[in-house]
């Protein structure tokens, strides 16, 4: 029985490679759990700011599931809107209510407008002309989901491919014996790591330019900010993916094991990167975003591309991404000690 011999051999190989076994069984459960949390989450409750509005309006909005905050001064209300404490600001100008949306997330916009419309029905029997005037701080009613997701997907795909390619090529350096050969030369460990950063860095500059140009100019994804800042952010994100990929490759013995890290390291970052509304996720899961490079990259890109913000808004993201890269480089140099102590 040649077939059963093959079957037995494969089962034996699996038994030896416990990691592949665990990945085949546990990773799908892990990813499905995440998706369940994301898609089965509670309905999004918009937070609405009210500027000198009657209390009857706020109570009817609350009965539609919205959270309301009352403001006395217009400047405070506007500040809350731009730092996203509130999703929309409602003012009453004479008889006509005005709704100003923050606007950068189409899903949130829909939730706000739905709550406002339903609340308006409470008043429609009193006055037929209760029709809110709607304006946007960022974006517009024409903004589609791809405009919102554009910056996130740009960040994600750059991160994903650089991670995998850099990781696999550093891994191959080990499996083909060239790393051992390099370590038999007077080359210092940090020179090897920085060499990789330099070589791939040049490649990622080209990649960052190409992808940013393609998405904004060819695909026409919404872009109201500075192109230079977009390049800077994509580049830093590539760098963190590159250094993380080479670091992780030290813990993989072959290409297959490298790919096994994708659902563990890349997929969770995608789920927490803002592609899905974060407000519906449990708190413990949301907190993980602070240790994920993709979070900072996509937040920075969204700020520049959708909200048109400048350096001050993304400075923290830039510093954190640079810090991640520096940390990964350092860990990489330490990890190489496994192959040569000096």
């Amino acid at each position: 029985m040649k077939i059963s011999a093959i079957v037995i051999r494969i089962l034996r190989q699996f038994r030896r490679d416990k990691r592949t076994l665990a990945l085949m069984l546990i990773a799908p459960l892990f990813v499905l759990t995440l998706m369940n949390l994301v898609f089965n989450g509670k309905e999004y409750k918009p937070t609405l700011g009210l500027l000198s509005a009657p209390s009857v309006l706020s109570s009817s909005l609350q009965s539609e599931g919205a959270v309301t905050i009352n403001y006395e001064r217009e400047d405070l209300a506007e500040a809350a809107l731009s730092d996203r404490t509130i999703d929309a600001l409602i003012t009453i100008d004479g008889q006509v209510p005005k709704v100003k949306l923050e606007g950068s997330e189409p899903a949130v916009n829909r939730a706000v407008l739905q709550a406002v419309q339903k609340a308006a029905e409470h008043f429609s029997h009193q006055s037929a002309s209760f029709k809110p005037v709607i304006t946007y701080l960022h974006g517009s009613e024409n903004m589609t989901s791809i405009d919102q997701f554009g910056p996130i997907l740009i960040g994600f795909f750059i991160f994903f491919f650089v991670f995998l390619i850099a990781g696999v090529s550093f891994l191959r350096e080990r499996t083909t014996g060239t790393l051992e050969r390099l370590l038999a030369t007077p080359l210092k460990r940090y020179e090897i790591v920085l060499g990789y950063v330099g070589g791939f860095g040049i490649f990622t500059i080209i990649q960052a330019l190409l992808i940013s140009w393609f998405c904004t100019k060819v695909l026409g994804i919404m872009m109201v900010g500075s192109f230079g800042l977009v390049i800077l952010l994509t580049l830093l994100m590539s760098l963190s993916a590159l250094t993380l990929g080479t670091l992780i490759s030290a813990y993989a013995n072959n290409e297959l094991q490298m790919i096994q890290f994708v659902p563990l390291i890349i997929v969770p970052q995608l789920f927490l990167s803002g592609l899905f509304p974060m407000d519906t996720l449990p708190d413990w899961l949301r907190k993980l975003e602070v240790i994920m490079p993709l979070t900072y990259g996509t937040k920075g890109l969204s700020d520049v591309m959708i909200r048109g913000l400048g350096w001050n808004a993304i400075a923290l993201d830039v510093y954190v991404l640079t810090g991640f890269s520096a940390l990964f480089i350092l860990l990489n140099i330490i990890a190489l000690r496994k192959y040569r102590k000096i």
Binding site: T176, G177, T178, E180, R181, L182, L183, A184, T185, P186, L187, K188, Y339, R340, K341, I342
Partner: protein, 243 residues
Amino acid sequence: MSDFPDVVTAAGVSKRFGNKTVLEDITLAIHSAETFGLLGPSGSGKTTLVKLFTGTLQATTGQVHVQGTLMPKLSMLNQIGYMAQSDALYTELSAKENLEFFGALYGLKGASLRKRIMEVAEIVALEKHLDKRVDQYSGGMKRRLSLAAALLHQPPILVLDEPTVGIDPLLRQAIWKELKLLNEQGTTILLTTHVMDEAEKCDRLGMIREGRLLAVDTPGELISKTGTDSIEEAFVYYGGHQA
């Protein structure tokens, strides 16, 4: 070269990986400008011993000195030309690009690098195939290119791990002639082999089995001391007595 009559020394060297003892109490001295062969079957610990000499591994107990300097020491790696057991080459690159890369790691550049590349390519008879990509090379050609890379920076010490596997006999003879010439110029050569007839070409031999050094002497002495007719029989004699 004569500063250190014993260019490479190991004193009471043991190497353990976890619980597994790979080398046990090895004491050995390799003389200046000789060809010293480490003879033993695969798994005997030859490659581990070689890596202790090149500083990629550190002895668990005992000391390794190269030119009087305690290993591992990064600066001493310039003195050693190393040819690994696996052909550590970048197969997507041409032979010339590989040699340019390894030459640059030892600080060679410009005209002197180009000159050295031509010289080493001639030694291993690859000068006509320098522009070919390495993935089009045969196994023997890759072996020769690895040897060429080890010779590039004219190191006083050559460490060659199974250098002639898969190389055709005529070319193997030519390479041996070249190694002897390097000996005459003062280069110390340490190589490993599991081929008995090749071992006879070494000035001195160390027989190694299961991590222990069985005997060290010239091939002629090893044969006559054991009263046998060949290196192979001498190896069996020592191996049998130790086991």
